[in-house]
């Protein structure tokens, strides 16, 4: 494991050694088993640039300090991916609720408003639970930092939450028998404007979480930054549409089915593109527990979308498809989360991409 680092020192090693027939045997010996094809493809352009060493040693070879991690995995536990999922459900549900309200679909409006506030409440509990010092949650509100996606997200939620809550409160009031007067009447009437404002803020709730993960040194999260927001909003649309399909009659859920199917398609397509652009750091998405989750996510989301398109007008098929897409969305969030955690624990995903970048472009330097 210490071989390559020293080999790499071109300045001190005479360049007269021809690689020729050594190449194949060295590759065969040193090549790791899993994911080697991806590795070779990922770094193909960089090969040979550095002279003999790069042509002899495949890209998978890397040096580390006794295999120890370089970056640290986040200390976050499973309430963070659960939060990502619930946030997506809340955001999509607010959109559907506002649309249902404006187009007179009372059942879907109800499920959307109540689903949004339930998911949001769950999100906030998960977030606070995850803090090392939960008693200091409010410290988040002492600054507004554009460079901190968590700060930005806190403010997005602080804006979105009260409006989603007002819409839900109005919904609950309307479920009570009899007429309301005074403040309660006002609260009931405020449901529509509050719901519309919540719907306008909702897409940010769904997409900021991608930046939350990507704005880190965690290799499989950072390298996904170009496509992850689209994957996450697609997942949010599929899950929230799925929730409406489970809870509301088919006569009202036409828009939910379209949103869910479109979201599922966006998620599946952008996830594929994401994996291609991630290079080596896509590997953890295919290995171990994360790999199982990602496979399940794709299968469930695709099955749900197909069910929606083919049998969405049947109550049973719609409910089943909706549930599948919700489960798919949850698997996706957990899969992406765990893949990132694994990528941080293995120095390979820090060293190999940086070495490839060095071989192709040289050291990162600010343009003069």
């Amino acid at each position: 494991m210490t071989g390559v680092g020293r080999d790499g020192q071109q300045s001190s090693t005479p360049q007269t050694e021809a690689p020729t027939d050594q190449t194949d045997s060295a590759s065969a010996l040193r090549h790791p088993t899993g994911g080697s094809d991806r590795l070779r493809r990922g770094g193909g352009r960089g090969r040979g640039r550095k002279g003999k060493v790069e042509s002899v040693v495949p890209e998978a070879e890397f040096t580390s300090y006794y295999g120890r991690p370089i970056v640290k995995p986040s200390p976050w536990e499973h309430d963070i991916p659960a939060y990502l999922f619930a946030g997506g459900v809340a955001a999509g549900s607010s959109l559907l609720a506002a649309g249902a309200d404006l187009t007179d679909r009372p059942s879907m409006r109800r499920s959307g408003r109540l689903g949004a506030i339930a998911a949001l409440t769950f999100s906030m509990v998960a977030l606070v639970h995850d803090l090392g010092k939960p008693s200091r949650f409010l410290n988040m509100l002492r600054v507004a930092k554009p460079t901190s996606p968590m700060s930005v997200g806190t403010w997005i939620l602080s804006f979105y939450g009260p409006f989603a809550g007002a819409a839900a409160a109005s919904e609950v009031l309307s479920m009570l028998p009899g007429e309301r007067k005074g403040v309660l009447r006002l609260a009931e009437v405020a449901g529509r404007p509050a719901g519309v404002v919540a719907a306008v803020a909702a897409p940010a709730v769904a997409s900021y979480t991608a930046v939350l993960l990507s704005d880190t040194a965690t290799p499989s999260w950072h390298e996904a930054f170009r496509e992850l927001p689209f994957v996450f909003v697609g997942s949010a649309a599929a899950a929230s549409g799925g929730l409406a399909m489970v809870t509301s009659p088919v006569a009202e859920t036409g828009p939910a089915r379209r949103l869910a199917a479109g979201g599922a398609l966006l998620e599946l397509v952008m996830e594929q593109r994401m994996e291609r652009s991630m290079g080596v750091t896509a590997e953890p998405l295919h290995h171990g527990h994360a790999g199982t989750l990602m496979k399940a996510a794709k299968a469930l989301t695709a099955a749900g979308a197909v069910g929606t398109l083919l049998g969405g007008r049947s109550r049973a098929v719609a409910a089943l498809s909706g549930a599948a897409m919700m489960a798919g969305s949850a698997c996706l969030r957990f899969g992406v989360f765990e893949a990132g955690q694994e990528s941080a624990k293995d120095p390979k995903y820090v060293v190999v991409p940086q070495r490839q970048r060095l071989a192709e472009h040289g050291p990162t330097r600010f343009p003069a």
Partner: protein, 348 residues
């Protein structure tokens, strides 16, 4: 501290970090460490002094089984960490220029000819510079004519390196902190304010060097649940003192001072080592144009950075943040539009 002013190099690029943070012109010069690993003897005095001064708990010490490293990594309870790298000698190179006792490739280039620029060492088998004995010993190859040990007992070398928080110019931990607990001091260093940190752990995932961590224990110790790392002994700096690790270093491997001056000193040192034939010597983190805008604590290494557990080409994650924000905004727009479109069409 307000974030209102955004300089052109706010996300990456050369920058005076304390000026960027809003300190006046009468601020002190930026302080940092130059850790010259070529003269580290692995005594761990820095680790001990750091723990003593900063009241860092001394838990989970045990041998790693791979080297003499018993403190594992930089973490919440380890603000200095001495890495021990035991390297076997590589097989003899096929290209032998016929010099007697040619050095293994990793300590290459003993002055083979009489062109030794060092007058003291002229004609000697290895350059002896009495003003810098430790440095000269490095260039003295094991098994060479000048070496005293037998080839059998010297078929490896030790690399020792005292690692520490880099106090980056563009510190990802500070940038992503949602509470403002991580702040830039007037010395240009990055410091956690214990009473503000809420333990969200975002900084842990953001650090490209894996330095900062949330303290997990021992139970009952102060700041459990709080992000912890080197403060460059902020309290000592304010009193005009040298940080504890540098103060205790017996070989001056850890040098403390003004970053600008340390950079010059480091350049001079690496040039001297190259002159002495230690061509593997290179600086790490000293370039203000690099991916993190240069680090306040930088290093002289004798091998590739990853050998020491450093990332070979670290880039602050905020370099891509504007692009991330654009993508997220576009994605949000797509969702809003998609939801609107899905309500078009007639109701059944």
């Amino acid at each position: 501290m307000t974030e209102a002013r955004i300089s052109p190099n706010a996300f990456w690029g050369p920058l005076d970090p304390s000026a960027d943070a809003g300190y006046d012109d009468d601020r002190p010069k930026r302080k940092g460490f130059f850790t010259d690993t070529s003269i580290c003897i692995g005594c761990k005095a820095c680790e001990v002094a750091c723990k003593e001064w900063n009241d860092v708990p001394s838990d989970h010490f045990d041998m790693t089984g791979t080297s003499y490293d018993n403190s594992h990594s930089l973490n919440a309870n380890q603000w200095r960490h001495v890495a021990f790298i035991e390297q076997p000698v590589r097989p003899k190179q096929t290209v032998d220029l016929g010099m007697p006792g040619r050095a293994p490739a990793y300590v290459p280039g003993l002055p083979a000819t009489g062109a030794d620029p060092d007058p003291v060492g002229a004609g000697a088998p290895a350059p002896i510079d009495t003003s810098d004995l430790l440095g000269s010993m490095l260039a003295e190859a094991p098994g060479s004519d000048g070496g005293s040990a037998s080839a059998d007992s010297m078929d490896f070398r030790w690399l020792m390196s005292s690692d520490v928080c880099k106090h980056c110019t563009h510190a990802a931990c500070l940038d992503v902190c949602p509470t403002g607990s991580l702040m830039r001091s007037e010395f240009g260093t990055v410091v956690v304010q214990d009473d503000i940190c809420n333990g969200c752990g975002y900084c842990v995932a953001a650090c490209p060097y894996g330095v900062i961590e949330r303290r997990r224990g021992p139970d009952g110790h102060k700041n459990v649940g709080i992000a912890q790392k080197c403060t460059l002994c902020y309290d000592r700096l304010t009193a005009g003192q040298t940080p504890a690790c540098a103060q205790s270093c017996p070989t001056q491997s850890i040098q403390f001072g003004d970053v600008e001056e340390l950079r010059e000193r480091a350049e001079a040192r690496v040039a001297k080592l190259h002159e002495a034939g230690v061509m593997d010597a290179r600086l790490y983190g000293n370039d203000p144009n690099d991916g993190v805008g240069g680090t306040g604590a930088f290093f002289l290494l004798l091998d590739e950075p990853e050998v020491y557990g450093f990332p070979p080409d670290p880039v602050v994650t905020t370099k891509d943040l504007p692009e991330m924000a654009r993508k997220a905004a576009t994605a949000a727009g797509v969702l809003l539009l998609g939801a609107a479109v899905s309500f078009l069409g007639r109701k059944p």
